[in-house]
Amino acid sequence: MSLFTYQLKQAYSGLKQKPGFVFSVVSTMGITLGALLCVLTLNYLLLLEPLPYPEQERIFVAQHHIIDAKKETQKVAFSYPGLVELYKSRVAFEQSAMLYYSQDVITSHRNQPLVNTTYVTPELHQILASPMALGRMFEASEALNTNSPVAMLSYVTWQQAYEGRADILHLKINIRGVSYQVIGVLAENFVEPELAEIGRETQVWLPWDFNVESAESRYNFGNIQNNFHFIGQLKKSVNQSQAQQLITPLVSELWQEKFVAKFDFFQGWSVDMRVRSVKNIMLGESKSFAVMLLAGIVGLVLIACANIANLFMSRTAEKHRQMSIQAAIGATKKQLFSAMLAETSLLMLMAIIFALVIAKTGFYLMQQYLGALLPRVNELSLNLITFGSALLITAILALFFAKLTTNMINYRGLNTTLQSSGKGSGLQVSKKTRQILIASQVALATLLVFANISLLKNAMRTINAPIGFSTNNISTLVLNLSSTQAYSQEDAIPTMAEIMTKLEALPQVESVAQGNSPLGGFGIKALTKSTGNKKYTPYFKRVDQRYFNMIEQPLLQGENFTIIDRRDNNNKMIVNQAFAQQLKADGAVIGMLLPSIGEPDFKIVGIVKDITIPGDTAFGSDDTAASVPRVYAPSGLSGRSFMLKFKPGQSVSRQQLAALLAKIDSRYSVFSFNKISDNLNQRLFTEITTAIATAMLALITFLLAGIGLYGILSYSTQMRRLELGTRMAVGAKRHDLTLMIIKDNVNPIVLGVLLSLITLVSGYFFFIDALSFYITSQLIPMFAVTIFLISSLSLLVCYLPLRKIINLPAINSLRGTE
């Protein structure tokens, strides 16, 4: 048996006698290293791992920036015909594809599920070389203008909606009245490029030709929506900037000719095409989020390492006599190090195994809860990077702790330990080392707690911001029309009226409004002030006469719309305070006329209070704090969206609504039925997740720092037990000793706080651009709160180990050391 194997066995039997020590080391390091492995793997995946597409470095996304007369970007979205023209041109790209994101109901399915659909041209899956589980991908026979009704399903849809049935390729599915033959199922390992929003996964892929745009809107260069996308593989001879230069004039000139030339309002506007790598688009701001997360976790690991270093030092002090005996019988310094390494290796091995379990759990939690926040989380798994990092971390930490503890031992002094029978010559951690540990714990904890409290406060500010309207007991109901036949708005009016009447008659329902949720349904309206020709682009929405009452958005001045306004399409307008003040500083705008493009002038008849929708910013602005200008006009009578306000504690099911619709007109089904409060929470998902994560991280940091500081100070106080007993013997009272211990530890605590302050100030100057958004004067009280918390914690942990000594007769401290 080699010496190291023998030492491993000895270490194992030694550790079996110390279950508390083993538990502390394995749990502390396991949890923190687990988090580190989890975040390291995430960072590798996001920052370094190539996308799983062939020649992924040549895959780019073209973005259509609409630039106003002031040369500012007003919107990043394609016009429908602009996109099609770019696709047809084949300029700069070897292969390209168009995508149209939507949602549809599979009406042929017994549950009529609402699914994410993407209408694409066949090149998309060819560029991505999408792996198939069954059948084939779209091909030339499904290209533009072929109108071939076929569908591809995602693997999850096949498994969940169709129970993985083997005859899926013989199945037809019905969407919006069109029957699509299923021709393929994508493989489970297919990774969809998330171009529109993180976490959105297409469940059914359909050919481009079947997207829901009407024939008229397909030729309208004003039909600008952010669900049109362009992706392509650049020609080998063309680079990113050349591609931008090649396609910009093509798209911009067409838009100028077909759109700008027709409307005075848009004079001076242009299009600037930007080409970005698909990886860049997919990652967005997640890169900085992942790096920040890594920094936070590294901080936690450092705190945990400081705690464990302290535990190891206490254990070395405890084992001093044992080591003296080993030295006396001939163990060399190297052999003592090797014995220590055996113990630290064993512990770190146990910790890393636990850490891998934690990491695996972390991947699962991230996939479950952060799928909408972070891209590519579905690809997270224990891989070579995780195992490699785990192995490296284990080796580094085992060596570090072994080296640290061996450095405490004065090899030459070991013999004198035996000679003096251990009386008063026990191994001690030097005061300097203890103070360094305290200062580093305080500095790290202050930095981490401060960063987390700041992020938490930012998130809470958004979560708690008053929205200005009520969501209580209100749900939205959107209907789906399953018909390919032309169906005029006039035809729909009596049906919608009947649906409204039947909905109102439901005993659970308090009132019904025809229109979209206050959280959505806003477009942009180009308006001109009749005096002065000043141009405005407020958010615009059509609402009925019940809308404002139902959501309790106060009408401050003027009058509401009437049913007659809706029936006669009266061009009345209600504006919010923010827009009223944009139009006229005193906000007195009732009666003002606002010319619009291609419509009679709108007359302002009322002013409503502003509302705040999380995530909304004024059009063309990044300022989240500014009030968003909004305008409202009367809606028509044929809309298929409703808001239902239920009586307190009551609701109806989707099935009840489906049954009600089936009785009225079987062509209508439930497209979506959601509580507005749920939608609001979804909008706040990022903030809520951030708030929970930062609060947890701050709490864990605080606890770890507390445990670490307690460990150091408890050890330090124990080492001073005789001194404290002696002081008590000569007359020191309890408050004298408490003050003394606090005074002794104030220096490293203050040093730690100063270190954190210096780090923060340096960080601010080095990363001023990235941090400027977060730096406000409110951070000063935040920092003061953090310092207060950490200082209170430090003082508390100064007192806690001391109280065991000073609240007992002095003899307890003197006995045993005498």
Binding site: T726, R727, A729, V730, G731, R734, N807, P809, L814, E818
Partner: protein
């Protein structure tokens, strides 16, 4: 006329664990007068040090009453006991119990720093110097304890015990950690102190040093073996 400085009436001390009850002291009663030099001796484990701890208010008795200068100090709080210790009692430990990080001056001055009288720096300096001169160590005032020999360290401890002008010195095996030459030197200092009027109570198992006391108390299994023997001055 003799004045009772310290009186113990039926003092008992019981140490309890979950399984065991140990009677360390049983019904101990005696009086120490001002100017006395008392030795307490007996075999290991007989309760000498426990008795000294109770006398020095470092520990509390289980039953019985204890008076210092006629004042009942049996049930004092920890802080009250600390105040009495500071004002009335000087302690000398077997292993000196000097604080390594403090200089000789600061070690000796320690009781004055905790005194309720709050003497000023000048007075502290004057008193510390005086005490160090008394033990012959004024030239070592700026040294650290680990720069001194064992005998010198014990003399510093004696100076520390004297600095607050206590009513009594409680001495626990003062020569236990010293060679015989240093031990003799320390005992000479104690004898001189007693001659100058300092009351001393010393625990020792060395019969040679026990004989130096005027009054001898012998303990066995927590009881006084015989009534205090008073040495007749020759």
């Amino acid at each position: 006329m003799t004045t009772a400085l310290l009186t113990m009436k039926k003092i008992s001390k019981v140490f309890e664990t979950e399984e065991l009850e140990t009677h360390a002291l049983k019904d101990i009663s005696f009086t120490i007068n001002k100017g006395d030099y008392v030795s307490i001796s007996g075999p290991s484990g007989c309760g000498k040090s426990t008795l000294l701890s109770i006398m020095g208010l470092l520990d509390v008795s289980t039953t019985g009453e204890y008076f210092i200068e006629g004042v009942n100090v049996t049930d004092l709080t920890l802080d009250q006991a600390a105040e009495v210790r500071n004002a009335k009692i000087g302690f000398i430990f077997q292993s000196f119990n000097l604080i390594d990080e403090l200089s000789v001056f600061d070690n000796v001055a320690l009781p004055l720093r905790y005194s309720s009288e709050k003497p000023n720096s000048k007075k502290i300096k004057q008193r510390v110097t005086q005490c160090l001169e008394q033990v012959g160590l004024s030239h070592r005032i700026a040294h650290k304890p680990n720069q001194l020999s064992g005998g010198q360290q014990q003399r510093v401890a004696i100076a520390r015990a004297l600095v607050a002008e206590p009513a009594i010195l409680l001495v626990d095996e003062p020569t236990g950690n010293l060679d015989s030459k240093s031990g003799d030197l320390v005992m000479d200092v104690l004898e001189k102190l007693n001659e100058s009027g300092t009351t001393i109570c010393m625990v020792t198992h060395d019969p040679r040093y026990a004989d130096m006391a005027k009054t001898k108390i012998q303990l066995l299994d927590g009881t006084i073996l015989q009534a205090p023997l008073v040495k007749i001055a020759s």
